[in-house]
């Protein structure tokens, strides 16, 4: 894992001191809210409905047990005993007082964390595949490149006042678990015919008000050109991105309006001037960063299969969890474990202080000290010996976090929505909870199979509704909540955007509506092997519309 060097330590510490001073001056009335707001946002402090909210960066979703323990400590000491893991692989605390924030930031700095660039029109936390370094289908760990991008983009003077916020995601695997095509820049790490590492580069993806799927502008960018090429993209964006209209300011609009090919040509032209500059990464620098991410030494642990076989016979609960929440590791003696933060009827992504500490303990004892946050709002232990799976499972059962629902319909993504968020139009959490309860039976969930259900409380789409197999968007209509349903979205290597079905549903109708959709799928699927998304792609929206709105007048 990346460790701060002296420079990083000094820098983060001085930022904490600077913000402490700014908060003191604000509280003393020496600076106005208009002066202070941009300063607090630069340090991740938002004002929400009930209180301030602090968004803490978790670079590429990687945490050590020490860091997770600190998040638990912060939740207990300064908040109301919990935090919310987000679709940006970050964590948000919902109740800090402004006067406590400097102390929280100092605590974070002591474990090499901060809240810088979790807001504002800058390059945000670079996200990555949550199974990075463990996945069996990966050519190389994408996180060293995410770290290189993080260092380059942190307080980069040229890219601190972009037309709009900017998001980058990286994966090194065949299966895209990082949703790279929904980001401003999506990087797919791969090898060319000569076995050299480089990236397929996608640009102009995004969700929000105008969702767009990123377009590929380069098939293979040698790794040493990562920063020169990224700089070229940023320069074209910085020059031509629209600053006159907030809603048209994201890179996706520029790429769409320019055309991906023409945009790609502009980037290539800019890049010609940069490719051999000091931005070209020396091989030794890349390998130095690589070394930080060297996988833990995984000792041979033969006998794991036998242990798992026996434990499976012994405990149905373990068997169910094993089937759903355990993923193949590149080392056959090991596995990656998904810790579901989606207990039936619970708020997606919320985690309490003691469980956070208990997970940190488990990671320290049985998982090489590493935890990941997934953009699907779960936690992951990327390296667990198969022989230890039962022990990890039992540890999770003790803290109530062994819900075996990864990738099933109750593994719902939901943003905070109107229960917390100042921008929201409708609640998301309550809808998620109601759906989770409705589909709570594991047998039923397994019959339904893989189904990505994603809910946002407003058009900003933090809950990724555009790319849910079933997506739900909360809107406000005549002062009441209304939920639009869209189908057919997907955020993997076959990224697609969902299509709105028809009129929306009220809070007390939406659960039934989703159930109707699911029942329709079960009726029309060819067999159990045909997933929801595949069935939808085969038959389109009609049968679902028919089931939902039959008998209602429908305009063309």
């Amino acid at each position: 894992m990346y460790r701060y060097d002296e420079f990083d330590h000094g820098f983060v510490k001085s930022r904490v001191a600077e913000f402490r001073d700014q908060v003191e001056r604000r509280l003393a009335g020496e600076i106005t809210e208009d002066q202070f707001r941009p300063l607090r946002l630069m340090n991740g402090v938002y004002l929400q409905l009930h209180a301030y909210m602090l968004r803490v960066a978790i670079p590429y979703g990687t945490l050590s047990s020490r860091q997770l323990r600190m998040l638990g400590h912060i939740a207990r000491t300064y908040d109301k005993g919990y935090g919310h893991f987000t679709t940006r692989q970050n964590i948000q605390f919902n109740w800090p007082t402004l006067s406590d924030v400097p102390a929280i930031l100092a605590d974070l700095a002591s474990v090499e964390m901060h809240a810088i660039q979790t807001s504002g029109n800058c390059i945000r936390n670079v996200t990555a595949d949550h199974f990075a370094g463990a996945a069996a289908d990966e050519v190389a760990d994408p996180r060293p490149y995410a770290e290189i991008l993080r260092q380059w983009s942190s307080l980069h003077p040229e890219f601190s006042y972009l037309p709009r916020k900017f998001k980058i995601a990286v994966t090194g695997a065949t299966r895209d678990r990082a949703a790279i095509k929904t980001h401003d820049i999506g990087l797919h790490l791969r090898k060319n015919e000569r076995g050299e590492l480089g990236f397929a580069v996608y640009v102009g993806g995004g969700q929000g008000r105008t969702p767009m799927i990123a377009k590929k502008i380069r098939d293979f960018l040698p790794e040493e050109h990562l920063l020169s090429y990224a700089t070229a993209i940023m320069r074209v964006y910085n020059l031509h991105g629209r600053r006159d209209n907030k809603y048209k300011a994201r890179l996706k609009i520029l790429v769409h309006e320019t055309g991906a090919e023409a945009f790609g040509r502009q980037v290539e032209a800019e890049w010609q001037a940069l490719r051999d500059s000091e931005l070209r990464l020396p091989e030794s620098d890349i390998r130095t960063i690589d070394a930080y991410f060297a996988p833990p030494v995984l000792p041979d642990r033969p006998g794991g299969d036998e242990a798992v076989r026996l434990a499976r016979l012994d405990s149905r609960r373990f068997a169910e969890w094993l089937d759903q929440n355990v993923t193949t590791h590149r080392n056959p003696d090991y596995a990656a474990v998904t810790i579901s933060l989606k207990g039936i009827g619970e708020a997606p992504g919320d985690a309490s202080d003691s469980p956070m500490e208990a997970i940190a303990d488990l990671a320290q004892k049985l998982a090489f000290d590493e935890i990941r946050v997934s953009h699907e709002q779960n936690l992951v232990l990327p390296h667990v010996a198969r022989a230890d799976l039962k022990a990890v499972h039992d540890g999770l059962v003790e803290i109530g976090l062994a819900t075996p629902n990864a990738n099933l319909i109750t593994d719902i993504i939901a943003c905070p929505g109107l229960d917390y968020c100042a921008l929201a139009n409708a609640r998301s959490i309550g809808v998620a909870q109601s759906l989770s309860r409705r589909f709570g039976s594991l047998e039923r969930q397994k019959d339904i199979g893989e189904l990505k259900l994603k809910i946002s409380g407003c058009i900003n789409a933090c809950g990724h509704h555009h790319v849910g197999h079933i997506g739900i968007l909360g809107v406000e209509k005549k002062g009441a909540e209304l939920y639009q349903v869209m189908l057919g979205g997907s955020a993997d290597e076959d990224t697609s955007l969902g299509e709105v079905l028809g009129r929306g549903f009220g809070p007390d109708e939406i659960t039934d509506a989703v159930e109707t959709i699911v029942e329709t799928y079960l009726r029309i699927r060819l067999d159990r092997g045909e997933k929801f998304i595949d069935a939808y792609r085969r038959v389109g929206a009609e049968p679902f519309k028919e089931a939902l709105y039959a008998g209602e007048f429908r305009a063309a």
Partner: protein, 103 residues
């Protein structure tokens, strides 16, 4: 009918301007503006609150009276007055003597 609401600067707590003057952390005792003139006065109080660095994001919000109780028209404001609807153990609704059903 409108009332004046804001968030307290130091801790972000949702507050309302009280009929007795001053900012209070429950909606019950908020001063109600019943005409344009009273609205303008409350609006001025909000602006002064910002200048005095007591509160931030001051605004007037529409309310109704329900059995004498102040109920904001928008769900957003009802949730601000009560707390998260999925966590009735948190926020103002969890405080003794407070009952506020948001939804």
């Amino acid at each position: 009918m409108k009332i004046l609401t804001a968030n307290r600067l130091a801790d972000g707590e949702a507050v309302w301007f009280s009929a007795n003057g001053g900012w209070i952390d429950s909606i019950g005792g908020a001063e109600i503006a019943r005409d344009k003139e009273e609205e303008a006065r409350l609006d001025a109080v909000g602006k002064a609150g910002l200048l005095d660095n007591d509160v931030v994001d001051a605004e007037l919000v529409e309310v109704e009276l329900n059995d004498g109780e102040i109920v904001p028209v928008r769900l957003r404001e009802r949730i601000r007055a009560a707390g998260p609807t999925n966590r009735t153990d948190l926020g103002k609704q969890a405080r003794p003597g407070q009952l506020a059903e948001a939804a």
